[in-house]
């Protein structure tokens, strides 16, 4: 029996009993589905301007109202959601990829290599990282329009440090277990040990942390698009538009409420899910 089959089943059972996590997962699924299929089903073009329909409050024709150029807000929120969610997932994937590899190598080889690698991590922790990421985005903003790669990489780079530490910790503690020693005796090389034995067992914390990374990345991306540096239409940009017209003469509440609501709901759902996963996989950890 390979190690790790039991705990997973237990974890899943615990997860299923957690109302917060379930609600979060359901909400997330709903939002993702709406963003993925909604615009296509509803048939509204988020880019089509219609100056005559400027700033319309929510109505039957436009469920979320229209913006300063007469564009349908519902379509824009859903399409913006695609960007936010896609960026969140992609950047997290980058973060997990780099962090896992880095931490695994450090944990597996130990000794001087580990010290060196962790030294770099410690140094990087002290760097005002957000600052550099924002700088990267600002500098490449012109060319980044339509070119999402620098965005994903830049955002992913923000979170890999903690991932590396977590994976390293896990690998270190798993390294001396019997099944690893057995594999070594059987002649397995480092890479094989890593891939088939160590990583699958380290999966728990990685999953938890990844689930908590996604909202952090979405948050950062929303900051950037709020500042006007986003790569494509996204929720942060929509909130910025909503904020930019806040005035005492006329209220355009829908411009602010709907994008904020979606952003907040997504982040809340992710955080609930992440908390739930963490409780499920490691009930001893403090909330």
């Amino acid at each position: 029996m390979s190690a790790g089959a039991g705990p997973f089943a237990e974890a899943l059972a615990r997860l299923r009993r957690d109302p917060g996590a379930l609600a979060g997962a359901a909400l997330l699924a709903a939002i993702a589905a709406a963003c993925a299929f909604g615009p296509w089903l509803l048939g509204q073009d988020p880019l089509a301007t219609a100056p005559a329909l400027r700033h319309q409050p929510p109505s039957a024709a436009h469920w979320f109202g229209t913006d300063a150029l007469g564009r349908d807000l519902l379509a824009r929120v859903l399409v913006g959601g695609r960007t936010s969610l896609a960026v969140g997932l992609a950047a997290t994937a980058v973060s997990v990829g780099i962090g896992t590899l880095y931490g695994a190598v450090a944990g597996l080889y130990g000794g001087r290599i580990d010290e060196l690698l962790m030294r770099v991590v410690d140094f990087l922790y002290g760097v005002p990282y957000m600052f550099l990421v924002i700088l990267i985005m600002l500098l490449f903003a012109d060319t980044a329009r339509g070119e999402p790669l620098p965005v994903f990489v830049a955002l992913g780079l923000v979170q890999w440090l903690t991932m590396a530490r977590i994976v390293r910790g896990q690998v270190l503690s798993l390294r001396e277990r019997e099944f690893v020693l057995a594999a070594r005796v059987a002649g397995a090389g480092d890479a094989r040990i890593l891939l088939r034995h160590l990583l699958p067992n380290a999966l728990g914390p990685v999953v938890v942390y990844a689930t908590l990374t996604v909202p952090a990345v979405i948050l950062l991306e929303s900051f950037l698009s709020f500042l006007g540096l986003g790569v494509a239409l996204s929720w942060g940009e929509l909130v910025a538009e909503g904020v930019s017209v806040v005035n005492p003469v006329r209220s355009y509440w829908w411009l602010l409420a709907f994008p904020s609501g979606f952003l907040a709901a997504t982040l809340l759902a992710l955080n609930f899910l992440g908390d739930g996963l963490r409780d499920a996989l490691d009930p001893r950890s403090t909330p």
């Binding site: 760097v127 600052f131 550099l132 700088l135 910025a240 907040a264």
Partner: protein
């Protein structure tokens, strides 16, 4: 030349730091602590003297842990400047590309005048030399006739003030919330507090800010909508900036306090008959405070970066606008100026937090 040397030296020190003997750490740590004093001192000789004294005192009395951090400090700043410079040179566009003069001779003249050579390493050398020898941040490349220090000067107190206000609110409110929740675990108060905390973490700060703005400034009219013309203008921005960190602090404080409250020695103390109050004050609060303090430095860093957005939202004339404008306009000196300031601030806060933590937690006093 200078640039390459400086960078190599910095990298070497950083990599070697864990292997350095204590004597070297003391020397370097003291040196690096005193260096800014020398740079900023108006009188060179007086500054050198003061710096030397400070270095000696620091080497003798500061704990090794702090000295180790100091040893890192300067090289990491140097590397930060280098990396930022590299990024800016890497990015498309350069500050002189858009000037109305098209001829290469005039561009060369402009480059010479402002001290911006074509290579990143050279510029880095020029910049660090000017910084160390003249204590100057250089001229802004885009705002005519202004030095970087002129532009940042009035903006720094505003951002600092706002950030510190937010930090104070975050610590104060967060601790209060967290401790209150920890004292009555699983009560409705606990759930409510943690619920609010979760909201604070989940919502982007500009959403919170926009909400506060709509409620307090527009609907109720109690506070100004935007701009900076008095202390009242800082209330909403500070609350907005503080919110997510108050939430983190609350969660950390609650967790830390709960952990302490469950430990053996607390039960022993209670069994001995010590009043609840003494128990809380003496032990549990420390459990709440320690993780918060070690979170202070990253919190401050986060507040600094969050301030870009909040300053934009509320129209506060702080550092955020200069950073954004500088990067958009490829104003290298301006960007480096803001980067240096932020990095130095974060480092200083890290240091303070370390010192405070060491003072509070006897277990940490031992050198590593």
């Amino acid at each position: 030349m200078t640039g390459a040397v400086a960078v190599s030296l910095a990298a070497a020190i950083l990599l070697a730091a864990p292997f350095l003997p204590p004597a070297a750490l003391r020397a370097l740590g003291g040196l690096f602590l005193a260096a800014p004093l020398f740079v900023l001192a108006p009188d060179r000789r007086l500054g050198a003297l003061a710096a030397a004294l400070l270095a000696a005192a620091a080497a003798r009395w500061l704990p090794l842990r702090v000295l180790r951090r100091l040893t890192w400090l300067l090289p990491s700043l140097v590397l930060l400047v280098f990396v930022t410079t590299g990024l800016m040179y890497l990015a498309p566009g350069n500050p002189f590309a858009n000037e109305r003069v098209a001829s290469p001779q005039v561009e060369a003249a402009l480059r010479a005048q402002y001290g911006v050579p074509r290579s990143a390493v050279e510029f880095f050398g020029v910049y660090t030399r000017r910084l160390v020898l003249e204590g100057s941040l250089g001229p802004s490349l885009k705002v005519q006739g202004r030095g970087v220090a002129d532009l940042l000067g009035p903006a720094i107190p505003v951002s600092l003030g706002l950030g510190l206000l937010a930090l104070g609110l975050a610590v104060g409110a967060g601790l209060a919330l967290g401790v209150a929740a920890a004292l009555r675990p699983r009560s409705w108060l606990d759930h409510a507090a943690m619920g609010i905390a979760l909201l604070g973490i989940s919502l982007p700060n500009f959403v919170i800010g926009a909400g506060l703005m709509v409620l307090f400034a527009l609907e109720l009219g109690w506070l100004p909508v935007a701009g900076f013309a008095g202390p009242r203008h800082l209330v909403l921005p500070a609350l907005t900036l503080a919110a997510p960190y108050a939430a983190y602090v609350a969660r950390l404080a609650r967790a830390g306090m709960l952990e302490v409250l469950q430990q053996d020695f607390v039960r022993t103390a209670r069994a001995k008959g010590l009043s609840e109050r003494a128990v809380i004050q003496n032990h549990a609060l420390r459990g709440a405070l320690l993780p918060v303090i070690s979170f202070l430095a990253p919190a401050a860093a986060g507040i600094l970066t969050g301030s870009f957005v909040v300053e934009t939202l509320f129209g506060i004339p702080g550092m955020g606008q200069w950073f954004v404008k500088g990067a958009i306009n490829r104003d290298y000196s301006l960007v480096l100026g803001t980067a240096l300031f932020y990095a130095a601030l974060v480092a200083a806060l890290n240091l303070l937090a370390d010192l405070l933590y060491a003072w509070l937690d006897p277990r940490v006093r031992e050198t590593r």
